[in-house]
């Protein structure tokens, strides 16, 4: 088990390094002169040279790459080229609580709704309930969040007036009813994916011999489903939830835009045309690292919950 743990951890570290490298070189190869952007369009050559030196852009690319990697290990992601050359980590520290609160609320909602929908559908496969649930699931999977959001706003904010319009404020500072729509919009796709996986996995499990044994013992169908089947069907669902969390992170860009939430996404790309390279780079890095971390946790949970994985990986 220790070997498996170390192996997975090393793989995650390599992924993080790869993400650092890729984001760095994409940003470094950007068209246009970042120093010129930082100094301003009308700056004198001396001011541009000064900005270049101040931001360390006068050093060779590989030196900058090395310094960046060293910086990352110390939690230093460079400074914004615009916006007072503030450290990138300040932006992230301001935005992350909002993004995280939203993603967390969404994944909880998605798990609740997804598991229940999948269960209800799997109880009577191919029944009317199953078919209508799976049709709504398909719509949930395919409809993009920036289509769902305006439609829900039209209905619940503008026509019915049940929910308040977006508040343009820190999520932790405003009333919970502002959170309802963004959470629902963000949770829709993961919920649908989880429902689909729950149904498929449950139906697969229900065909197993030990389920027949449990039924033959005279246990009630609900007990069999909840106590025997769900436990084993849950593993693929867990993986789906882990992967969905990645979707939540990139989906937050859209939801933050629609509901004017100052999260990490909105802070990095809210002003088109003004390309604040280092903030975008830092944001991507942070989100990708979170994603890698979640995948690692999912893998480890999977191995802890499923002894077969442990055995197979241990011998490999």
């Amino acid at each position: 088990m220790l070997q498996f743990l170390l192996q997975r951890f090393a793989l995650a570290l390599v992924s993080v390094w790869a993400v650092c490298t890729l984001t760095f070189f994409i940003a470094a190869s950007a068209p246009g002169d970042p120093a010129l952007i930082a100094a301003g369009e009308k700056a004198s050559p001396a001011a541009v040279a000064m900005a270049r030196h101040d931001l360390g852009l006068d050093k060779p690319v590989l030196t900058r790459y090395g310094l960046y990697l060293v910086g990352v290990t110390h939690g230093d992601l460079g400074r914004s080229f615009l916006r007072d050359r503030e450290p990138v980590t300040h932006f992230l520290r301001r935005g992350l609580p909002n993004t995280f609160l939203l993603a967390f609320a969404a994944i909880v909602l998605a798990l609740l709704v997804g598991l229940m929908t999948g269960l209800a559908a799997a109880l009577r496969p191919n029944s009317l309930v199953d078919r209508s649930l799976m049709t709504s699931v398909l719509i949930g999977v395919t409809l993009p969040n920036f289509v769902l959001a305006p439609v829900l706003i039209l209905i619940f904010v503008q026509s019915l007036g049940w929910l308040p319009p977006p508040a343009q404020d820190n999520l932790w500072a405003i009333t919970p009813d502002h959170l309802v729509l963004p959470t629902v919009v963000l949770a829709a796709r993961p919920a649908a994916l989880i429902a689909r996986m729950t149904r498929a996995s449950l139906l697969e499990t229900l065909r197993q011999d030990y389920i027949r044994t449990a039924r033959a013992k005279g246990l009630s169908p609900l007990t069999v489903l909840l106590k025997h089947a769900l436990k084993n069907a849950f593993l693929p669902v867990l993986t789906t939830a882990g992967v969905s969390f990645g979707y939540l992170l990139s989906g937050s860009f859209v939801v933050e835009r629609v509901f004017t939430i100052p999260g990490v996404g909105e802070q990095s790309i809210s002003s088109p045309g003004e390309r604040d390279y280092s903030v975008i780079q830092g944001t991507t890095l942070l989100l990708a690292v979170i994603f890698v971390g979640i995948n690692l946790v999912t893998d480890l949970l999977y191995a802890t919950l499923d002894p077969r994985v442990k055995a197979a990986e241990g011998t490999a």
């Binding site: 395919t142 859209v254 790309i269 989100l287």
Partner: protein, 300 residues
């Protein structure tokens, strides 16, 4: 591939290999009402994209004097608050979305198929290299990598193609690799190898034709994903350049202006076009899977 299922041969369509499989798969596809309906809707949308900008009295860059006009004989769907004819913009948006989708998908196929084939067939270091490379790409959730590239390189059609293709190819390469890997162990491939047929020819004549069905299915469903990705980036203001309309951008523009006075149709029409396209592509992909895989016939 003379592996036509017995059910086809029994129908007396003649038993000569792949030339038979295609038409019967098509007829099976069209017998599925959902697939037939999806095909109709998609045809209508393609027609709108190709034909309407040619016959429309307005150019998509022309701001008419009618601002926020309701639907009328002159403007079939009305105009938006900049005076653009909504139907013309929708049709141009369809052109942009569909051509980006198809173009990116072709790039993805052109890169993903050869890499997947080589990695799956030859294995060893090519395989390891590919898997590490795709692992690296999969570390970025969803379209985050495309967001990064577009935000840094700026909006343009060219950048969009590259960003979406880079994000899209690893998935397809993995699919092709997996399928190739399992085909490589099959008897007919081993027989070909035993006969001394060169690898390139085995891949082209024996492996690739058997991969076409899963690739067609994956490409159809991927196409929906690419169209959503383009719309997402355009919605965020980092997609196609400002001069071009796009469904995603239309939703975004209508959305930002409609908190004050609202004309819901400006959001609803592009949203409807986008949702219908994406839903129909998904239905079609699922139906294609059933039509192309004879084994699934037993289930229905």
């Amino acid at each position: 591939m003379s592996l036509a299922p017995p059910s086809l041969l029994g129908k007396g369509v003649g038993g000569l290999g792949s030339s038979v499989a295609a038409p019967s798969a098509l007829s099976r596809l069209l017998r599925n009402p959902l697939a037939a309906a999806s095909l109709c809707v998609l045809t209508l949308i393609v027609l709108m994209a190709v034909v309407y900008p040619l016959i429309s009295p307005y150019s998509y860059t022309h701001q008419t004097a009618d601002i926020s006009a309701p639907a009328s004989a002159r403007h079939w769907l009305g105009t938006d608050d900049s005076g653009y004819d909504l139907l013309t913009r929708l049709a141009m948006g369809a052109r942009v979305s569909l051509s980006v989708g198809v173009g990116v998908e072709i790039l993805v196929l052109a890169v993903g198929i050869p890499i997947g084939l080589i990695a799956g067939y030859y294995g060893r270091w090519t395989d390891t290299l590919l898997m590490r490379l795709t692992d690296m790409m999969f570390a970025f959730p969803d379209i985050l990598l495309a967001i990064l590239i577009m935000a840094i390189y700026g909006q343009s059609l060219g950048n969009l193609f590259v960003a979406l293709a880079i994000t899209g190819w690893p998935g397809l390469a993995r699919l092709v690799r997996g399928q190739t890997l399992s085909l490589r162990g099959r008897e007919f491939v081993e027989a070909a190898r035993a006969l001394g047929i060169p690898s390139g020819q085995i891949i082209r004549r024996h492996v690739l034709p058997n991969l076409l069905s899963p690739i067609v299915v994956a490409a159809t469903i991927d196409l929906a994903g690419v169209i959503i990705a383009e719309a997402t980036l355009s919605f965020l203001g980092i997609g196609v350049q400002d001069t071009l309309p796009s469904w995603g951008k239309m939703i975004s523009v209508a959305q930002t202006s409609h908190y004050g006075r609202s004309n819901p149709s400006l959001v609803i029409y592009p949203a409807l076009c986008l949702s219908l396209t994406v839903l129909c592509l998904n239905f079609l992909g699922d139906a294609l899977r059933d039509a192309l895989d004879p084994r699934s016939e037993k289930n229905t």
